[in-house]
Symmetry: C2
Subunit: 354 residues, 2 copies
C-alpha cells in the first residue's frame, strides 16, 4: 500500500470555503479579473487558510504544458571533473524557478540512437516543454532531431552556421585572443598551442583567436607549434615534451592550452625538463578550473561567465516556448575574462583573482 499523505486541498475546497464556484476560484488564481474585489479577497483568504496549492499535474494536463525543461549533458571523463557543471546547473535551476519552471534531468546515453529515443519519449509523453543542450558539435544529432520535430531548444554552444537555432555561446576566439595579446605584450613570439582535433567545433572557435592574433601581429606560426589531441593531462604532457625537444630556434617560449588539464600536463612536462614555468616557459589555458589558482605557479586561464550563461539561456528558451517564436536575439555571444596569474610570469595579479 502506498503512502497517502494527507488529502490534498483542491479548488473545490477553496470554493466551498469562499462560497463561490470552483471555476471562479480558478479565475482569481489566474488573475482573470472578471471578479469583484470583494470576491477576490474572500478567495485569497480561503487559499491562505487552507494553504491551497494548484495541482501541477492537473494544470499541465489541461493546459498542455508541463512547465518543465529537459536537460542532459555528456559526463566528463573519469580523470577530469567538469569545472562548470555545478555552477551552470545552479544557475539554470534558479533562473527557471524564477519563472515557474523546473528542470527534468536525464542520463546521457552514449548510444546516439537510444539517446534521441529519450528525447522523443520526453516530447511525446508531454513531460517537457523544451530542451537545453550543451557541448554541441558539428551536425549535432540532438539539434537535428529537435529541429526536425520543431521542438523548442536553446543550446549552450554553436553548431554549423547553416543550422539555424537559438544558442548562446562563450566567445572562445575572444578569450584566446586575450591570452595571445597578453603573451605578445610580454614579448613572446614563438607561441605554441595545445588544441583539440579539427573536428572539434569548440576547439576551432578558440583557435581562431590564436590564428587571428598572430596574423595581426605579422607572425606566421610554425605547424609544429600546433599540437592536436584529446584534451587530457596525458596529451598535454606528451605534446609539451615534444615541443621542448625542438631545436632552440623553433622552441616555443609560450604555450596556450585549450583547457586546464592539458595545461597541467604541460606544467608537469616543463618541470621534468627543468624548464622554469613563468619565465623560461610561459603557460596559459582556458576554463579556469577552481583548482588551477593553487597550482605552482598559479595558472593563468580564461574564465567563462557561466552563471551569466545560465541566467540568459533560460529566458531565451522560455520566450521561445511561451511565444512560439524564436527568441530575439536568436544567438548570443558572451565574452570571457582573462585571469592572469604566475604561470605567465607577470606578478601583477598574485591575488586569488576572484
Amino acid at each position: 500500500m502506498r503512502i497517502m499523505p494527507a488529502r490534498r486541498v483542491t479548488l473545490k475546497d477553496v470554493a466551498a470555503t469562499a462560497g463561490v464556484s470552483y471555476q471562479t476560484v480558478s479565475k482569481v488564481i489566474n488573475h482573470q479579473l472578471q471578479v469583484s474585489e470583494e470576491t477576490e479577497r474572500r478567495v485569497w483568504q480561503a487559499v491562505e487558510t487552507l494553504n491551497y496549492r494548484p495541482n501541477h499535474t492537473a494544470r499541465a494536463l489541461r493546459s498542455q504544458r508541463s512547465f518543465t525543461l529537459g536537460y542532459s549533458w555528456p559526463p566528463s571523463p573519469k580523470d577530469q571533473t567538469n569545472p562548470i557543471l555545478d555552477q551552470f546547473l545552479q544557475s539554470i535551476f534558479e533562473a527557471a524557478q524564477e519563472r515557474g519552471y523546473y528542470l527534468l534531468c536525464f542520463p546521457y546515453n552514449m548510444d546516439t540512437k537510444q539517446h534521441l529515443e529519450t528525447y522523443g519519449e520526453l516530447i511525446d509523453t508531454g513531460r517537457v516543454d523544451g530542451f537545453i543542450l550543451s557541448s554541441v558539435e558539428y551536425q549535432d544529432p540532438r539539434v537535428l532531431f529537435l529541429l526536425e520535430r520543431n521542438f523548442p531548444l536553446v543550446a549552450f554552444g554553436r553548431s554549423d552556421p547553416e543550422l539555424f537555432f537559438p544558442w548562446i555561446d562563450v566567445d572562445g576566439a575572444a578569450g584566446i585572443a586575450m591570452v595571445m595579446s597578453h603573451l605578445l605584450e610580454l614579448g613572446h613570439v614563438r607561441i605554441a598551442a595545445l588544441a583539440w582535433p579539427q573536428s572539434s567545433r569548440v576547439g576551432n572557435n578558440r583557435m581562431e583567436g590564436y590564428f587571428n592574433t598572430l596574423k595581426a601581429a605579422g607572425i606566421d606560426p610554425k605547424p609544429c607549434w600546433i599540437q592536436r589531441g584529446e584534451g587530457r593531462f596525458s596529451f598535454g604532457y606528451e605534446a609539451t615534451r615534444q615541443l621542448l625537444d625542438l631545436p632552440k630556434a623553433d622552441r616555443p617560449t609560450a604555450l596556450i592550452a585549450l583547457n586546464d588539464p592539458m595545461a597541467i600536463g604541460a606544467m608537469q612536462a616543463a618541470r621534468e625538463h627543468k624548464v622554469a614555468i613563468g619565465t623560461q616557459l610561459v603557460i596559459a589555458s582556458f576554463d579556469d578550473t577552481p583548482m588551477v589558482r593553487y597550482l605552482d605557479p598559479p595558472l593563468t586561464s580564461v574564465r567563462q561567465p557561466i552563471w551569466e550563461v545560465g541566467q540568459r539561456i533560460i529566458p531565451m528558451l522560455l520566450d521561445y516556448i511561451e511565444t512560439g517564436r524564436l527568441p530575439e536575439p536568436t544567438s548570443v555571444l558572451v565574452t570571457p575574462q582573462l585571469i592572469i596569474r604566475g604561470s605567465t610570469g607577470s606578478q601583477i595579479n598574485k591575488q586569488e583573482g576572484g
Copy 2:
C-alpha cells in the same frame, strides 16, 4: 501563439485503429490481461504504427503519482569543484530511468526557510513522489521537514542516530582507517589530521577512523596534531605551516586531510618549507578528485564508490515510494577504496590507480 507540435496520438486513436474501446487499449498497455491474444496483438500493432506513447501528465493525474524524484544539492564554494557531483547525478539519472522515473532538479536556496518552502511546493503540487538528499548534517532541517510530512526520502549521508530515516553512506571511518593503517605500516607515528569543525557530521565520522586506529596502535595523538577549520586550500596551507613549525619531537611525519583541497594546501606549505613530500612529510587525503593523480607527487587519497551509491540509493527510494514501507535494509554503509600514490612515498602504485 504557442508552438503546437503535431497533434499527439492518444489512446482513442489507437483504439480506433485497433477496433476496440480506448479503455481496452489502456488495459493492454498496462498488461491487465483480460484481453484475448488476438486483441492484444492488434492493439500493439496499432500502437506501433501510430507510434503511440501514453501521455505522462494524464497518467500522473489519474494515478496520483508523478514518477518524478526531487533532488537539490548545496553548490560548492567558488574555489572548489564538487568532485563527485557529475558521477553521482549520472548514476541516479540512469538508475531512475531504468525504473521509469526521472529527476526534477531544483536550486539550493541558502535561506533554509525558503528552501523548505520549495520542498513543500513540490510536494503539495504533486510534482514529485520522493526526494533524494545529500550533504546531510546533524538536525538537518530538510530531514526534519520531510519526516514531519511523512514524505518519502532517502539521504546520501547520515544524520543524528535518533532520527530514523533511510540513508546510504560511505563509511568515512573505514576510509580514514585504511589510510591510517597504511601510514602506520610505513612506520609513521606522529600523524596529523586536517579536519573539519566538530559540528561537521561527515568530519566526525571520518575522524573516528583516525582516533580508533591510533588507539588500537597504542598511540595517543597530541592535540596539536589535530587542526580543524573549513575544508579549503587556504586552511590546509596555514595549518600545515603551523605543523611544520612545531619542535622536531612533536612535528608530524605524516598528515591526513579530510578532503583534497586541504591536502593540496598542505603540499604547497610543505614545498615552501623545503620539506620533501612523500619522504619527509607524507600526505594523504579523502575524495580522490580526478586531478589529484596529476599533482607532484600524485596524491594518495580515499575514493568513494559514488556510482554504486547512486545505483543503490534510487531503488531504496523507489521501493519506499511504491510499497509505502521503509526500504530493507533501511540504512546502508558502503566501503571506500584507498588509492595509494606517490605522496605517501610507496611507489607500489605509480600507475593511474584506475
